[in-house]
Symmetry: C2
Subunit: 589 residues, 2 copies
Amino acid sequence: MSAAPFAVWAPLPASVTLVVREIGETEGQKIPMRQAEEGWWEPDAPLPGGGRGELEYGYLLDGSDTVLADPRSRRQVDGVHGWSRTYDAASFAWTDDTWNGRQLAGSIIYELHVGTFTPDGTLDAAIGRLDHLVRLGVDFVELMPVNAFNGDHNWGYDGVLWYAVHEAYGGPAAYQRFVDACHGVGLGVIQDVVYNHLGPSGNYLPQFGPYLNEGGSNTWGDSPNLDGEDSDEVRRYIIDNAVMWLRDYHVDGLRLDAVHALHDTRATHLLEELSIETEALSAFVGRPLPLIAESDLNDPRLITAREGGGYGLTGQWNDDFHHALYVSLTGDTTGYYADFESLAALGKVFENGFFHDGTRSTFRGRTHGHPIDTLRTPTWRLVVCSDNHDQIGNRAAGERLSDKLSPQQQALAALVTLLSPFTPMIFMGEEWGASTPWRFFTSHPEPELAEAVRSGRLEEFAQMEWDVANVPDPQDDSTYQSSKLDWDELQQPVHADLLAQTEALIKIRRTYPDFTDPRFDQGRATSDDEGGWLLVQRGSMTLAVNFSDAATGVPVERPLEPVYVIGEAEVDGDLVRLGAHSALVARTP
Amino acid sequence: MSAAPFAVWAPLPASVTLVVREIGETEGQKIPMRQAEEGWWEPDAPLPGGGRGELEYGYLLDGSDTVLADPRSRRQVDGVHGWSRTYDAASFAWTDDTWNGRQLAGSIIYELHVGTFTPDGTLDAAIGRLDHLVRLGVDFVELMPVNAFNGDHNWGYDGVLWYAVHEAYGGPAAYQRFVDACHGVGLGVIQDVVYNHLGPSGNYLPQFGPYLNEGGSNTWGDSPNLDGEDSDEVRRYIIDNAVMWLRDYHVDGLRLDAVHALHDTRATHLLEELSIETEALSAFVGRPLPLIAESDLNDPRLITAREGGGYGLTGQWNDDFHHALYVSLTGDTTGYYADFESLAALGKVFENGFFHDGTRSTFRGRTHGHPIDTLRTPTWRLVVCSDNHDQIGNRAAGERLSDKLSPQQQALAALVTLLSPFTPMIFMGEEWGASTPWRFFTSHPEPELAEAVRSGRLEEFAQMEWDVANVPDPQDDSTYQSSKLDWDELQQPVHADLLAQTEALIKIRRTYPDFTDPRFDQGRATSDDEGGWLLVQRGSMTLAVNFSDAATGVPVERPLEPVYVIGEAEVDGDLVRLGAHSALVARTP
């Protein structure tokens, strides 16, 4: 690539002109560009003020007079259709010199959407709530995508300018303040990044070059061109973006959205290349830089160390855990939940990581997955949750588990997740059983697009035979506003109680090493569908959970000393008696 | 094992009696012990004061009236032949809550012997010098063994009570203060531990149980019983000791002394078991816990991740690097240096890690080593140095490289080590070219043992046909005193200059990512024995080093911008002109 200021990769147009203006000006100065190597263009005339200082700029392709944003723009003050603005990331005065990063092993993640975490919906407002996260006891904040997207608010997965921090969140400077503040209170930051598609509006990349693999689209749009002609630069575009977050913004790890939607036939898969480059960066910055994939492939290759022939990602989300736990809690066996009907599914996940490890997936109409090498793979490579932005937001009305479950059942969900041997993740508000929904919301300014999103959403649910009357309009501002956390709920005893239980469970996790022990073979799970119970033993620790709404008895083979109880639990000789929706955490002396 | 207070593993004696006394008392109270499971004994009567508070204690075996120290003693106030003293490690008020540990990747290690680092020779005195290490820019302090050994001073490898911190260093409380202070200034602590033999005096373990594999001794004594009868508890003794440092004393990593001297035929080698247990602990404490082996096996299995079928140690010392560099600097090709005569040996190490990777070792009279999988193994797994306690101390008079090399040559040594892709290690004082020797010293109080050590040392060197008149008496106090660093040297320009160069080289390492890039295949080395030069290219960085005492010219194939010069260096077209003992660090734009 070219290192010249304002250089741009644009192998498609026959001519590229740079336009630059001072902040506040309306007219830009046109600077002709000359072709450099490998599709790059460089300014061919002096820049105003030598190109230093804050400037607005954009590109005119093939003599057009439409100013297009820089594909690597750091700021889009007027949105994704507007001019780009320079931002000098090196100018920030970091205060995190003594921060050595955080390893994924042993950690707990807190997933957070900037726009709805606080009433203000900004990164600076989020800083004001970090003390809550520290008290809760989590290690990483995982920010849902902050890249520039169309409109004011959005989940973030419709990003089109991956290098820019969404202006309504506060832009790149606020982002740096946020990361610095997190490090100051001992929290790592994981950034959710989307490399599998671009949003439906503001994506001008195809005019610059073959960024997209137009033959191979996925659910959300065209997937990136990772293995076609000119794909070296497209891969570089992705990897440089990852490096930007980790190096320039001091981010501690990345969550890679839906990697199963990446199409790459190369001998070195993009994910392995990303691992390699991230390992090199990690050695340079002296901090662990975990990469966590969202994957529905159930393919252990992703999380196997490169020394073991894998791609070398640090971890991946494990949907099987969610599905098995969700079915255990709710009894819902519709759609892809069907295979998880028996509590043995949750038990299998505890023992083997994946439920679908070569077994038949009814939903997919084929066998699915591959077994994890449980003797060598650490349990913490799997990130698990009882709810997350996708599970909640993709329900018709964006209702959380709290909408379906009693507080006591929510405590069961927290117990099974937080005392699992995996890496637990909490979705913001879940720790107190937030009653606010978390809905699918968009804010596309274009009426046609707004209507397309609105009707598309309805169609989707109509196909699933849901009552579409309950589906909120994604474009309605109240859909967004109603998704914001209501922090005043914490004043109510029921929410304060649930928060106290979540905090207690996190403390228990950190008190008894058996819970974080990464050896699969240290755990054994049994269950009984009729009795409605699951029994998990890890080392000297035991979890006995009654998911059913009737009292039950769990046979145990060793003496138990109660450590924590949800609902009613009693050790009676060789039996643990559990009330409805109750659980016991115990240790064997 | 038994969790009872004062329990002891002693499968050999037919009876065990505990003796306990308050501090200051001379007589102890005898407490009978009863056999518990698997060779463990537990007190069979109430303990004075309930066994709480600080107490002195020991064991009488088979009716003997000789009080033996606890094999797991935490303190030996009166030396290894005296009574044990209880120490409550949990009582320390740690201030390192926000410390997340340190990863080995990208780090620099500083090896330090507590007794000779400062005039006082204590851990508390060492705390007073941490600012020097922070300014220098290292990441880890590696403490030579601090376990209890016979006498007042010693290198530490003659330890006999592995759980006790040597009292003359300040004991366990001072140790905790030291680790806490290191964390406070951002330094990690690696503890050197010796599990391959026990020292010649104060080793009463064989009276308790079959700790030693008496059939299979190594250079230094009987090796531990890792695979014979009752070896489960011996392995537990070792692993629990590792856990003690990492958990109770907040240590950040271990250096495992001479692992090639461990004899273990089990399917799971002790080193793999140690990796597994350390990984579990790491997930519990949420900190990376690197394990670094000293190994002369050149066997990549040690440092291959468990997911790749290896033992899963984090790193190992790479003697080949030292030997190749030493020969390049000194021209000495005696003994095991013979194979490293050509500069191509150093080049091979840069490209492949091991020089002996299946090649013939003249010194060993056989082929030696196995190639590293350079496409998958990160370079930082190899710890390298130009001098260390062994290389210095095992020379007859304990002379450092500074004794043989000019300051400019010492700067070359620093450059090649600190800008290598491996994990550099500095031996205390090397950063300023300390002129003080670092000798082999002991302080055995027993005259016979003192004489044996003295004459053994002379014999050893006589066999190598050295002039034994130059070999200092290990037992002479002046041998110890003369080995202490002379910090006043830093006032002399020659030493201050060398320190400034070391600091500058560390800054260069941290400025250009190519130096820490862990990919072997990013590096290429060429050399010319006649011209006396080595050329290393890593990414966009180039090192050109002239080891010879004549000016030389190094042909280069790309444009170079000088970044750092030692001696005289000049880029002249396709040639780098180097003065005698000179070097150039350069980058290609």
